[in-house]
Amino acid sequence: MLERLYHFLEVRLGIRDILEQNLTKYLLPNNVNIWYTLGAVLITLFVTQFITGILLLVYYVPNPAEAFQSVERIMNEVPYGWLIRYLHAVGSNVIVIALLLHMLSVLFMGSYKKPRELTWVSGFILLNLSFALCLTGYLLPWSQLSFWATTVATDAAGAVPVIGDALVRFLRGGAMVGDATLGRFFALHVMVLPAMLAGLVGFHLFCVRRIGISRPPFGEDYRPAEVKGYFHHEEHPGGIPFFPNYAIKDMAVIFFFLAGLVYLVFFAPGLFIPPSAFEPADPFTTPEHIKPEWYFLWAYQTLKIFPSEFLGLAVQGLVMTGLALLPFIDRGSERRPGRRPLFIACYILGILLFVGISVWGHYS
């Protein structure tokens, strides 16, 4: 039966060829390392987010008068609603961790360099889309935390010169966070951003596959790949088959991340969900110590360090633009970390700065 189905598809679509090209005859560099599994981990985590998100949508009501109650119902009444909701909320944090690790590994190995600029740029946009998803999703439960974190985050846009105020109004759909804000954030969170993300992931994967995966810049016999002036797919003759060899490794790391996610959901969901998330939004009472999520702390704190908000915002903008355009700035072809002391110094300083400022932001 299966054989006949296979034959049917084979005759019409030539699937054996596709499968071979992408599985058994898709060869990865023979010194490929564990960091190359993070992309597959991200795909899995995003698929999980899509599924749990659709399930939440069954019971969530995007209306300020009912949103908080509907989330409480999901948590307390709907069978396993707590599980679905926590998987989604905690999952968003795990995704950010995986995104940062993926980006850091790509930076360390210099795989963003020519000819992989488009892979990098699309990846960087994906990172920002993910942040936008986190920000818009945060408002939906309409809790004190949602309301005030969104107020603070959208307020930061006011530091942009000239159009600042108009920009804040536009983001909020009014002078203050309110009904209009929930409407637009909901539309963005469930429709616009996921659609953009899915499309861009497709492009990102296309780039990775089309140009060929990079060879990790480690080992005695590593030589920088010659970068040609025309299109050239980087092959790895004598490499490791993607299937079954590397796919198994992918699966192992995916399960490792899922185990971590489930552990957090069961034993430490409060790590990412402070008490003010359990009070309904009250536009007339600001709770104390309102802080953004951990991955926005660096931005929050930079705004406070600099004497003017505008300066803080400008520095953030510069850092982000610099990162986005990194492959066009850092153009040398050397990828071995040992031979890029300046870059690695900046890399380590950057990580320390990010962690340091975030911790500072947390305790300030």
Binding site: L55, G81, L83, I84, P244, N245, A252, F255
Partner: protein, 144 residues
């Protein structure tokens, strides 16, 4: 650590079986919560009686209400004589309406007709309306 007598390919097969097994267990374990999450809630407090103000059911009039999540009707056909039925037509499930002029129920979908006792008077319905027990308690009519 590495035992040279176990070759790489065997270790990979072992890991593959292990991961596949874990994957199966996880999928099964995940399917159950999702099923329960989506399953419709089984009607609230099934056995509870529904009470209706007697004044809401005047003589020769019918009163429609929700009985355990489904439409139902209570009527006073003769003074002090109350009867209650499921308002769901036994033909294809439309909701019947009360026609005071005729003192009978009419199903607007295919013109099924039912008497004040719920019996079929005409049209396609194959069975009488499902009757619900009624009791009087002061100025309340208790159904269920």
């Amino acid at each position: 650590m590495t035992d040279p007598s176990i070759n790489l390919s065997e270790r990979r097969t072992f890991l593959g079986i292990l991961l596949g097994g874990v994957g199966l267990v996880i999928s099964a374990a995940a399917a159950w919560p999702v099923w329960r999450f989506l399953a419709p809630s089984s009607g609230e407090g099934n056995l509870a009686k529904v009470s209706i103000q007697r004044a809401e059911v005047p003589l020769e009039q019918a009163h429609f209400f929700s009985f355990h999540g489904k439409p139902a009707v209570v009527l006073q056909a003769a003074p002090g004589k109350f009867a209650a039925f499921s308002a769901v037509c036994t033909h294809l499930g439309c909701v019947i309406k009360w026609v005071p002029e005729e003192q009978e129920f009419l199903c607007p979908c295919h013109a099924g007709r039912f008497s004040v006792e719920g019996k079929v008077l005409g049209g396609p319905p194959p069975e009488p309306l499902e009757e619900l027990p009624v009791a009087l308690d002061g100025d309340q009519v208790l159904v269920g």
